[in-house]
Symmetry: C2
Subunit: 303 residues, 2 copies
């Protein structure tokens, strides 16, 4: 039996990953700054701030996990691309994996990002260089390099899953699919970008299942976590509007588009070769997202 | 007046850098795990282990330096190439520069390494990719990437000096020039590699003067710290033997050569453009090294 420690366990991917790991027969330990009030007793929860080095060291030594899924990172919308907190998470990730290894840990799965790739052109294929333009991408990529080097020099086996554009129930309401779903459910008009950029949208449960597959595989190195299907953001939002039974609420072209490439689509081949495939088609995933917002909205007016 | 904090201050480069910084009018703060017994009162010494996060944070906040020269790293000969301690120094370097910035720090100079470059071919020219093959090179390169990204996102100005093959008085006696100088002074025979590899040897005082120039410049990014002159290791050792008034003590071909490229020579152009030039020719530098060993050896028999 493996004992898995999951960081970022209350985060968007983390909370969907925990039940999958339990299902797969792992002893699951979850760490978060605040333990959820309604915590399943199938999960062993630990409260710790991984940026507090001493607390993190103590936790890692106490749990003595064989496996580690490291999802925690600074994720404040709008700020995370260039925030100095990215540096703290590189240092914390290194300390975490070092401590995990010293305590006997064997295998590590880490959440990377498509922002590690060069975005000066369309992205991504196996030839796309790693040339991150944001501090977030630089920090993730540097952590990957260090852990990959460590894996080759006595460190734990490490696999790195680069997450593309995920969406789904529980997403931060400042992100595009969530903000538009919320507005549509509330019958509010919403300004969005022109939406001609092509992105690879993957439902958060499929992202979580990818990490479960990565954990149980013996894959090493880095691979993409995405659907491989490119879709224009405009099409996604219009589909969302249609599924919500609305029309005319989307004001395309009103919001600026970030200076990012026209196309960011994953190569899911290596992940599929491990037996993973997405279970939730885009329409079904968008429907679930709308349903979630219908439930959530009365409790979260105007968020 | 600038207040400079120097890490690794008792190290090979650090101890030669301190007097240069005093000469240049800086208020010099030096940190080392152990403060030297015969410390100059022109230097403000601080005892701290930078791997002890709390102690390091407290020191950085207390000194409130405007400038930082970060030389400290794990350097145990034979082990440092692949030791996990390299990870700790990435994390410590990040925490150091973050804390320095929070305390108002403005400019950082860091010791990099020629091992950041791709060594699958001869090295190095401006086209040589950064593709380190050792954990040491990977770790240094990752720290450089993170600090460079930070510099572009609100962090301090940062310049990175990639040190090539340095030598001189006080070098660890396990390294090639030092070990051979020691043997020659003791009239002992010594086994060395065939010595056909071409390297860029720079006297440690010239390395130190390069870091002083980098500190006082407004250069940013990364540049090489080397002479630009390639010389076969065999020629250096034969020169050393001749200067020592010895002959026949070098057993070439007896020691293995590390799997490294035939040629590793710096491009000193960018550093020279800042006004730096080496002051110590190879013969003079080797002579000083021999003189140092003649002084040191009676007190260090067989080291």
């Amino acid at each position: 039996m493996t004992r898995v420690l999951v960081t970022g366990a209350t985060g968007f991917v983390g909370r969907h990953l925990l039940p999958l790991l339990v299902e797969r027969g792992h002893e699951v330990h979850a760490v978060a700054r605040t333990v959820p009030a309604e915590a399943s007793d199938e999960i062993r929860w630990h409260a710790a701030d991984l940026l507090e080095r001493r607390a993190a060291d103590d936790l890692i030594a106490a749990v003595a996990a064989t496996h580690l899924v490291h999802l925690a990172w600074y994720a404040e919308h709008g700020r995370f691309w260039h925030a100095p907190e990215n540096l703290d998470w590189v240092a914390a990730g290194i300390a975490l994996v070092r401590g995990f290894r010293v305590a006997g840990g064997e295998r590590v799965v880490v959440a990377g990002t498509c922002a590690e790739y060069d975005w000066t052109g369309d992205c991504c294929d196996p030839e796309t260089p790693l040339r991150p333009a944001t501090l977030y991408g630089i920090a993730k990529n540097a952590l990957r390099e260090v852990l990959d080097g460590y894996a080759g020099a006595g460190g734990p086996q490490t696999v790195w899953g680069r997450i593309f554009h995920l969406y789904g129930p529980g997403e931060q309401p400042t992100r595009v699919v969530a903000s538009v779903a919320r507005a549509l459910v509330a019958s509010e008009s919403v300004g969005v970008s022109a939406g001609d950029q092509i992105r690879d949208f993957l439902h958060v449960e499929d992202v979580a299942s990818a990490f479960a597959v990565l954990l149980d595989s013996d894959a090493t190195g880095a691979l993409d976590v995405g659907s491989g299907s490119g879709v224009a953001v405009r099409d996604v939002l219009e589909r969302l509007q249609s599924l919500a039974g609305q029309s005319g609420l989307l004001r395309f072209g009103e919001a600026p588009r970030r200076d990012e490439p026209g196309r960011i689509v994953a190569d899911p081949g290596p992940l599929q070769a491990l037996g993973w495939k997405p279970a939730i088609e885009l329409d079904a995933g968008l429907q679930r997202t709308l349903d979630w917002w219908r439930e959530a909205l009365p409790a979260n007016p105007g968020t």
